[in-house]
Structure formats: structure tokens, C-alpha cells
């Protein structure tokens, strides 16, 4: 009895090859100083080769999964990891942004940095954690992924050992992270005891049956504790205190990394969990749990974006202002996640596509804004708002993309940020619940508030001038931020194709994440092979491979 004979090991290894490339690069960087010395340029070269290899592999995986004919997912019911088109697409984005962060590091620190191997090992390690995070559907997997992404990030924030502010920032980040991870694990242990399984799908089914007979206290405590870890990762209120401190204290390239990719990974994880819960919506009793869940998530989202925008109001450090703005944006994206939990939108995967579009737009807006800030920091030595005075004269090629990114962050047309907000509003409006209307009001008011502090920076850059010297900045950095700004314009004018692509991704995301396929027998169109080593039902984490049919027509 050799059940491994039917196990497509080669295919599995291929699907996880981008992650394997990350780990291999880390190992090579560990060994490289023995052979080639600790020179920053050598190490960065090795890292870039690894990132390039990972990028190629992740594109191949995305093509493989995207064709549908041989795409597969490890079924959420029992597997630890999922590979679907969304996780594949995220990995492509991950490698692109790794390259961008490496490039920013090259501009900023290649001359002065003496610990390049350690920096890249930590950076690639946290990237590996984020790649795991978007693929996890199991309580243990989620905890391990979040910790794998967080632990290197603490060290990255405090990477400059002589910098007092960085030391303090990493201390605060680490303490918040450790506390939230511990609470999250205690919540996971309670959930395991209640459900008897670590799978999120089982948890969703269990929650439905329990919530129908009145709110079960222990389950609510477990869910809230577990949520603490995810809220920490996306810096949702009340776990947001680390965010501005860590962003201000860290080096600008690390700040860019944390604010852009780390948050996107956390949000995709949240979306996956919420979509698993919403997948059980067919059950008539489902509203008893989805209602309270949606309210809890919606209130958290509303408080998060309000706190973020009000705190950004009075900041003088641009990094800190952008940190609060990223908290506010996490709030907007959580609003889209609440729309998952409503029967009206649930079948069409529209909330998922609105959320995915917003995440992609957010990536480019923030990379552009942080890229410009980075160049000002390198030139002026600080990131106070005064340093941006008269930027339109001193460096027009920085000022114009910065204005574009800021206006897009507010969400005004004709920029992509408007599309993201507009689609979230549409999705919320189509559910038509009281909660949705509250959230729409909150979002509109918050957009008005955010207009003030983003425009303050725009005014300082364009209308004031105190005769500071021109900014000298590397041509590559200018190209990077202008490319981001151009992407924001292009995405706005190609909204329809982008929407179609997002819908396609959302559909596949939905079908792989949704728990529907696990109810009763598997549908005829899918064939599920159980691949357990001992053929008994009690094996540890049996892996189920499910072949999904070719991409469904968008409904």
C-alpha cells in the first residue's frame, strides 16, 4: 500500500518553488560571506539573483494555476496550505516589491552598510512568512506564517544598532507583536478545544451550529483572541500602536516594505478567513453568526480608519503621517471585508474583487509616496514636512509623482485611488444593510478629513518656497516613483480590463477559499484524492488535492 505513488510530488514542489527559491537564497546568503566576503555589493547581487529566480518561478506558477486545467488547490478542509491564483499573483507582487525595496536599499545604504548579509536574510525571511500568510487556511499555519513574517521584521526595524530611535521602535514593535501572538495562540488553543480541529473550515461550520443556540461565550473569546494577531498584522485598532512608531524609527526602505507588502499579506489573509466564513452562508442559520461577525468587523473598520485619519492630522513627520494614513487604508479595506458576510453579495465574489483591486492600488500609491519620502530623507537627513517645502521647484520629477500619489491616497479622480474607494462603496451599497450605510457614511466623512492632511503636504510642496537648494536624487529612484505614479493613471483609464481581471481572480479565490465545496460530497466536477500516508482518517494533517475546473464564467 503505497499511497505516495499517486502523489504528484513534482507538481507540489513546482507550486511551492517561489518559496523554495526564497529559502535557497537565504541559505546562499548565509554561506556567501565565507566564499566571497561580506561586501554589500556582492551580497546584494546574490539576493537580486535569488529574487529574479523567484520572480520567474512565481510567474510560471501563476500561469500554471491560472490556466485552470491543471491548477489545483490544497483543499481548505484539511490542508495546511492553498495555492490558488490569488496567492500566485501575490507572490509575483511580493518579488517585484522585494526588488523595489532592494533597489531603495542599494541607493540608500550600499556604501555605508556593513551587515548586508544579515539584512537580506531578515528581509527574505519576512518575505517567506508573507508568502505563507496568503496561503494558510489552518490555525497553526496562520500562526506560524504570522510569526515567520513578524520576527525578522522586529530585527529589521532595529537594524541600525547605533540609532536610538530605531532601537526604541523595534522594542515597541517587538513587545506588541509578542503580546498579540501570545494572545492569538491562546485563542487558537481554545478554538482547537471547542472545534476539535485546527482547520478554519471546521471552525466556520462549528460556529454556525453554536451561534444558532445563543451566543457561546467561550467561542467568542476564542475568536476575539485569535483576531488580535491578525489585527496586529494589519494594524487595526486597537492593535495599531506599534505602526507609527515602527514606521518612524525604521530605515525608510524597511518602512516601505512593512507598510506595503506586509499589510497586503495580512489583508489577503483576513479576506481568506472571512470568505471561508461566508462560504457557509447557504445554511439557513448562517445569519446568526455572520450578522454579529459583520458588525464586529465593521465597527473595527470604522474605528480604525477614523483613528488613523484623526491622528494623521497633526503629524509633522511625513513617515508618521503616512503610517497613520496606512492605518486608515487598512480600515477601508476591512470595510470591503465586511461585505463578504452578506448573502446579497456573497455569491458574486464582488467584495473579493473590490478588495483585491484596492490592495493592488494601495501597493502602488504607498510605494510611490514612500519612495519620494526616501529620497527627501537621504537628501535632507530628516522627514519633517518642512523638508518638502518648494519641492516643485527643487525637484519637479519628485514633486509631481508625490502629488499624484497623495491625491490618489485621498481617493480623487482621475486616479486609481478613486476607483478603489468607489468599488468599495458600490459593494457596500449593494448589500443595503444598516451596517453598510453606516460604513459608507464613515468612509465619506473620513475621505473629507484625509483631504486636509494630504493636501497640507501638497500645498507645502507646490505653493510655499523658502529658497532651499535643489534636491539631487538618483535617476533610478526618480524612475521608480514616476513608474508608480504612471501606474495609478493607467489603472484609472483601464478600469474595465482591470475590473475583469480582478473578477477572474476573485472567482477563483472564492471557489478555493469557500467552504461550500466541503459540504456533503464533493461536486462532480472536482475530483478529490485523499493522500494520507497510512490510509486512516486520523493521520496528521492529511493533504487533499482538488483539481478545480477551468476558470468559471464570471457571473
Amino acid at each position: 500500500m503505497n499511497s505516495w505513488s499517486s502523489f504528484p510530488i513534482g507538481e507540489h514542489l513546482f507550486l511551492f518553488s517561489p518559496m523554495i527559491a526564497l529559502i535557497a537564497t537565504m541559505l546562499v546568503i548565509v554561506g556567501a560571506p565565507l566564499v566571497a566576503g561580506r561586501g554589500s555589493r556582492t551580497i546584494a547581487g546574490v539576493a537580486v539573483m535569488g529574487i529574479a529566480a523567484g520572480l520567474v518561478l512565481s510567474i510560471r506558477v501563476a500561469m500554471h494555476v491560472g490556466r485552470g486545467t491543471s491548477g489545483f488547490s490544497l483543499q481548505p478542509a484539511a490542508g495546511l496550505l492553498i495555492v490558488d491564483s490569488v496567492s500566485a499573483a501575490f507572490q509575483i507582487i511580493l518579488f517585484l516589491f522585494l526588488a523595489a525595496v532592494t533597489y531603495l536599499w542599494w541607493i540608500g545604504s550600499v556604501e555605508t552598510e556593513s551587515n548586508a548579509p544579515e539584512f537580506f536574510i531578515l528581509l527574505l525571511g519576512s518575505a517567506f512568512g508573507m508568502a505563507l500568510m496568503v496561503s494558510s487556511t489552518n490555525l497553526l499555519g496562520i500562526v506560524v506564517a504570522i510569526e515567520t513574517a513578524s520576527l525578522p521584521s522586529y530585527a529589521l526595524v532595529g537594524f541600525d544598532k547605533r540609532d536610538r530611535v530605531a532601537a526604541e521602535a523595534s522594542l515597541k514593535y517587538m513587545i506588541f507583536g509578542a503580546v498579540s501572538a501570545a494572545i492569538m495562540l491562546y485563542g487558537a488553543s481554545l478554538l482547537y478545544g471547542l472545534v476539535g480541529s485546527l482547520s478554519v473550515v471546521d471552525l466556520a461550520h462549528y460556529s454556525i451550529t453554536k451561534f444558532a443556540d445563543g451566543p457561546p461565550l467561550l467561542l467568542i473569546v476564542g475568536l476575539l483572541c485569535f483576531m488580535a494577531g491578525i489585527a496586529f498584522k494589519i494594524s487595526a485598532v486597537p492593535m495599531h500602536f506599534w505602526c507609527p512608531d515602527a514606521f518612524e524609527g525604521a530605515k525608510i526602505e524597511v518602512t516601505t516594505w512593512l507598510s506595503v507588502v506586509s499589510k497586503a499579506a495580512g489583508l489577503i489573509l483576513l479576506a481568506r478567513l472571512v470568505s471561508i466564513f461566508s462560504g457557509i452562508i447557504d445554511s439557513p442559520r448562517a445569519m446568526s453568526i455572520l450578522g454579529p461577525l459583520a458588525w464586529a468587523l465593521g465597527l473595527m473598520a470604522a474605528v480604525t480608519c477614523t483613528v488613523g485619519n484623526f491622528a494623521a492630522y497633526k503629524q509633522v513627520s511625513v513617515k508618521r503621517m503616512l503610517a497613520y494614513s496606512s492605518i486608515a487604508h487598512a480600515g477601508y479595506m476591512m470595510m470591503a471585508a465586511t461585505a463578504f458576510l452578506h448573502p446579497a453579495t456573497n455569491q458574486y465574489a464582488t467584495p473579493a474583487s473590490a478588495l483585491l483591486i484596492y490592495i493592488v492600488i494601495y501597493l502602488f500609491m504607498n510605494l510611490g509616496a514612500f519612495g519620494v519620502t526616501a529620497m527627501i530623507v537621504w537628501h535632507e537627513g530628516n522627514d519633517r514636512i518642512d523638508s518638502f517645502t518648494g519641492l516643485i521647484r527643487r525637484a519637479p520629477w519628485l514633486a509631481v509623482p508625490m502629488v499624484i500619489c497623495l491625491v490618489s491616497l485621498v481617493g480623487l479622480p482621475p486616479l486609481a485611488g478613486f476607483l478603489g474607494k468607489w468599488w468599495i462603496l458600490l459593494v457596500l451599497g449593494s448589500t443595503g444593510t444598516p451596517l453598510a450605510w453606516i460604513l459608507i457614511t464613515v468612509l465619506a466623512i473620513n475621505t473629507l478629513i484625509s483631504l486636509y492632511f494630504y493636501m497640507r503636504l501638497v500645498v507645502v510642496m507646490t505653493l510655499r518656497d523658502d529658497g532651499r537648494p535643489e534636491v539631487k536624487c538618483p535617476i533610478g529612484g526618480v524612475a521608480l516613483v514616476n513608474a508608480c505614479a504612471a501606474m495609478l493613471l493607467i489603472m484609472f483609464f483601464f478600469a474595465q480590463p482591470m475590473r475583469a481581471a480582478a473578477d477572474r481572480y476573485a472567482n477563483s479565490f472564492y471557489s478555493t477559499s469557500s467552504a461550500k465545496i466541503t459540504q456533503g460530497d464533493a461536486p462532480a466536477s472536482t475530483s478529490i484524492q485523499s493522500l494520507s500516508v497510512s490510509d486512516s482518517d486520523d493521520t496528521l494533517f492529511p493533504i487533499y488535492v482538488q483539481r478545480i475546473p477551468p476558470t468559471q464564467e464570471h457571473r
Binding site: V144, L171, A188, G196
Partner: protein, 103 residues
């Protein structure tokens, strides 16, 4: 008296509350980390106890316990390194004295 699931859960809950209390009241970063370790231990105890009493042949909880032990070790390594770095820079690991970043 036979020892049952409840006993383990009560011990774990006491550990959790002790850890939570420590995390909230201590101002020394190392003290907070001790609180974190207490909470992690309570969750390991929960996982293993549920495994033992919820049915035969379960190993998920025990494996998770092993994972948490490794996580706790990794976290302690990073945390102590950061504490040492903070002590070198600020000559204290009192989190209330770390006040350069505010607002």
C-alpha cells in the same frame, strides 16, 4: 479524585491570567516577555490537554505544542537581542522611558 480535562484547563487559565497581568503591569521589557512566555505555556498546556481528552489518536495539538515551543524560543532570541540593543542605546529596558517616539 481523578484529574480530568477541567483541571488542566483551570491551570492553563490561571497561567494565562497571570501572564496577562504580568504583561499589563510590568514596565520592564524583560518582565513583559516573561508574561508572554507564561501565556504561550498556557496555550501549549491547553493544546496538549485537549489532545489527550478529546479522543484517541489525536496528534494535531501535540504537534502544535511543539511548534509553539520553537516559536517561543525564536521569539525569545529576537526579543532578548532587541532588549540588549535597547539597553546599549538607552541604558534602560523600561518601556515607559522609551519616549522618543510619540504622537
Amino acid at each position: 479524585m481523578t484529574i480530568g480535562l477541567t483541571h488542566y484547563l483551570v491551570v492553563a487559565a490561571v497561567l494565562f491570567c497571570g501572564g496577562l497581568f504580568t504583561m499589563m503591569t510590568k514596565r520592564n521589557a524583560v518582565g513583559i516577555l516573561i508574561g508572554v512566555e507564561l501565556v504561550l505555556t498556557s496555550s501549549i498546556l491547553n493544546f496538549v490537554a485537549f489532545d489527550r481528552y478529546l479522543g484517541k489518536g489525536r496528534v494535531d495539538g501535540q504537534i502544535t505544542g511543539l511548534f509553539i515551543i520553537v516559536l517561543a524560543a525564536a521569539e525569545a532570541a529576537i526579543a532578548v537581542a532587541i532588549c540588549i540593543n535597547v539597553y546599549k542605546n538607552l541604558s534602560t529596558v523600561d518601556v515607559d522611558r522609551a519616549t522618543r517616539l510619540q504622537g
